[in-house]
Amino acid sequence: MNDLSNRAISIKADLLTKRYGDFIAADALSFEVYKGEIFGFLGANGAGKTTAMRMLCGLSLPSSGSATIAGFDIYRETEKIKKNIGYMSQKFSLYEDLTVLENIRFYGGIYGLSDGAIKEKSEAIIARLGLQSEADKLVSALPLGWKQKLAFSVAILHQPHIVFLDEPTGGVDPVTRRQFWDLIYEAAEEGVTVFVTTHYMDEAEYCNRISIMVDGRIEALDTPHNLKQQFQADSMDDVFYKLARQAKRVDL
């Protein structure tokens, strides 16, 4: 994956900033993410990861700076961006009072998939996740791990260029986390750019490149291998610890 820089650029952020009054949640973020890359976004709680991600998804307008997502401008073309991205928020946000199939059908419909495509996708997702016997159960009845896998599958239902995952594996058991990352790899293999935030350092190792945010700024950005060398650390844990303890901001 050393030839990443030759690939097309999926996300390009330039001095992207979000201010809330005096508080700078995200401070002059500049980075590029390449097509098909798994880009890890690390940082302590309150470092500004979610703020950054919400700006990139078009959920929140930046205070200054510029960015293009899948080639579309973050200010003027938010609706075009939304056609081309998938998003999975920190908080599980499929409809708990709809069944698995109904959720898939609903989001398929919203993204403008044809009835045939929705049917095909539904079957594929159910088969891939092994949810055959749960397909007609309410989502609220599923265990968290399955919910997260379902939410991810729904987020990439419409074959977006980029998928944003905000702490997708929080609170999920290690086995399910592994399975979740298999799903991420499969998506990346198909050319989907994956932008993922996480607190798990083993997951950070799975990423092609990672950036580490401290107090709203990106303090480090490279492959896990290079970062370990740069910070003379044995593991990503050490790298993270060395950077994160400089943080002055308290947990939000």
């Binding site: 959920l59 938010t78 946000s93 409809y95 009072d97 109904e102 419909g109 919203i110 993204y111 403008g112």
Partner: protein, 372 residues
Amino acid sequence: MRTIKFLLQKEFRQIFRNKSILAIIAVMPVVQLAIMPLAADYEVKNINLSVVDHDHSTYSQELVSKITASGYFRLMAYSSSFKEAMQGIESDQADIVLEIPAGFEKNLIREDEQKLFIAVNAINGTKANLGGAYVNQIIRAYNQDIRLELVQPTRMNPIPVIEITATNWFNPSMNYKVFMVPGILAILVTMVGGFLSALNIVREKEVGTIEQINVTPIKKYHFILGKLIPFWILGNVVFTVGMLVSYLLYGIVPLGNMGVLYSFIAVYLLAVLGLGLLVSTFCETQQQAMLIMFFLMMIFILMGGLFTPIESMPEWAKVVSSFNPVTYLISVMRLVILKGSGFRDILSHLGIIASFAVVLNTWAILNYRKTT
């Protein structure tokens, strides 16, 4: 259009799975219409009367029995002194004290004139007002009787007398239920529509599902329509159930055309739902939305002409109630149900409500932000 189809499908599935919404739609109109009109009674009964009879004559006895026989009064006490009776008022046991002076009968016969004294406990204004008026009326009637008895009727009245005969149009027996039930139904439709729509979007905000909607390319007006249409249908259902209940329980059949009523309700619901949606765009939690809706509902109910006529309100209050959608619905309901007004008679009401609907919904769509 396809997007709306999916939105409606989702919304209806959620509604039919939500037992509390179904209960609100089915039970609220029935219970409220069954109970409220009985309680919101304009006829004041059981007025507690305390009599101080200094005369103890046949006439004073007759007068008291006339008053108690009217059915509006309950004779609480026969006091020997006014002071004693006043204590009854002070301890809230009596609402009205009627004092009959000594020599009532004698003076009435000899001098053709006598005075009575009435003291009214005005803590409960309505009761005091009406109670006083009732007593007055009964005494006047009694006065007539005595005149007939004492003064030999001549061919012509010695004093010119103007007698008034009143007819109550549109509600001949002055049945207050006929008058209250349509008003209460108007409030019900408003409450159900306003609360359901306001709470629905805010619930999506609270649960976080709206976030997932906001990252999709869905158009704002699609989303709002997807919320509006299901609750519009529910509002019509509540109204229909309400009309059925008022027919079954109170035998109220609209004199006017049901089509006129339904076409007004159709536009009215758009306005109320628009208000609910607008409130939801300003709120982050269901609690906030609930409190704001309660605040508005209180104004709507008290300033909508349900209990007190708008014509008797001060000027500023009239202005406020002209911005109250409920005012127009109550008025149209009474016009069509009691008076049998036609489409042309409610056209101005319809026009005003339609502009409410346009303004509120446009505002709601503009204020709904997919991006903050």
